[in-house]
């Protein structure tokens, strides 16, 4: 028995992605899933493009960050009785063809969360410094959460409704990826990793996290622990 397509909600956080969002949404819609694009204060007509491509669009009036956008999409999908939720990047790094296999462990009931892993799968065009930075993040996360993960900052994740209800993203910006892992550990959610392919492009490298942002993420993790 396969998962009904109408129960699957793909959540795409987008900021000024008018040039790419249409293609991204059309590809996801071709699989028959529901797609919700959270426009995080774009000024280039991203929301309209996403809507034209067939996605339901939620607009943040002001920019609040990727973590905040994902939580907005999750809240909306849960309100619409979504049972299987997938977070997906808007910048073309992810392959929609990876998603069906990621939903399988959820359908089989062997996991609450499926985390995409580029280190179990493959990467295209990943810079060397990014490789070492991500490996350092994995090492740090393994120590702080005791989760045996191989990739900590992969935006491609699949969750069942239970996990989506339990995980509450309070980190508005890039630290949300670490926060999700901490939440998985603290709530003892069952998780598996699934190999995925990440395709880096000049656009995604330019727009995504820069290496020095790692310090900001680290600072946010410390601050959130103090003020939690």
């Amino acid at each position: 028995m396969s998962i009904p397509k109408s129960d699957v909600w793909i959540i795409v956080a987008a900021l000024n992605e008018a040039a790419r969002i249409e293609n991204c949404v059309r590809t996801l819609k071709s699989f028959g899933w529901n797609v919700v694009v959270v426009d995080d204060g774009s000024t280039d007509g991203t929301a309209e493009k996403a809507r034209q491509a067939g996605a339901v669009c939620l607009r943040h009036l002001i920019n609040r960050g990727q973590g905040a956008s994902l939580q907005t999409g999750i809240d909306f999908a849960l309100a619409k009785k979504g049972k299987w939720l997938v977070t997906f990047d808007a910048d073309g790094q992810h392959r929609a063809s990876d998603v069906p296999a990621m939903l399988e462990p959820l359908r089989q009931g062997i996991a609450d969360v499926v985390l995409g892993s580029r280190f179990l799968g493959s990467t295209v065009g990943m810079p060397v410094h990014r490789f070492f930075l991500l490996k350092a993040a994995v090492w740090f996360t393994r120590i702080t959460t005791r989760l045996a993960v191989t990739d900590t900052h992969n935006g491609l994740r699949a969750l069942n409704a239970r996990a989506a209800n339990v995980i509450r993203i309070r980190e508005d910006r890039m630290a949300h990826a670490s926060e999700i892992l901490h939440c998985i550990a603290s709530e003892r959610l069952r998780f598996v990793e699934h190999p995925v392919t990440i395709e880096y492009s000049s656009h995604s490298l330019c727009k995504g996290q820069r290496s020095r942002d790692a310090w900001g993420v680290l600072a946010r993790l410390v601050i959130s622990r103090i003020f939690a």
Partner: protein, 121 residues
Amino acid sequence: MNTFQTVVVPVAGLLAVHELVAWIRGGNRLAALKCLVWCCFASAVYQPNLVQWLANAANIGRGTDLLLYTLCVFVLLSTFHFMKQFELQRQQLTNLVRELAISRPQWPDGGDVQRESGSFD
């Protein structure tokens, strides 16, 4: 009293009275703390030897050192307080933006018509 003391002590005293009234009227403990701070400030300006006496009593030595240490503690506590306030307001702002976004979804084919049912395919 010199000119500085003549100007500062009455102002600090008035502020202390203002906070005292706020404390008595509203039972606000923060107002009581502010009143105490203004009283200490006025006393320290009016009688500088008092600070020196306190420094000696605390085994610090100089009154200026006592002031410096007090200032450091005050800055740290203030920073902590303001960061906590900032975090709270950040989360409130995000929640507000989120509520607005979810309450006005833009559906692909029907404009801003909100659908109550599940999927839209």
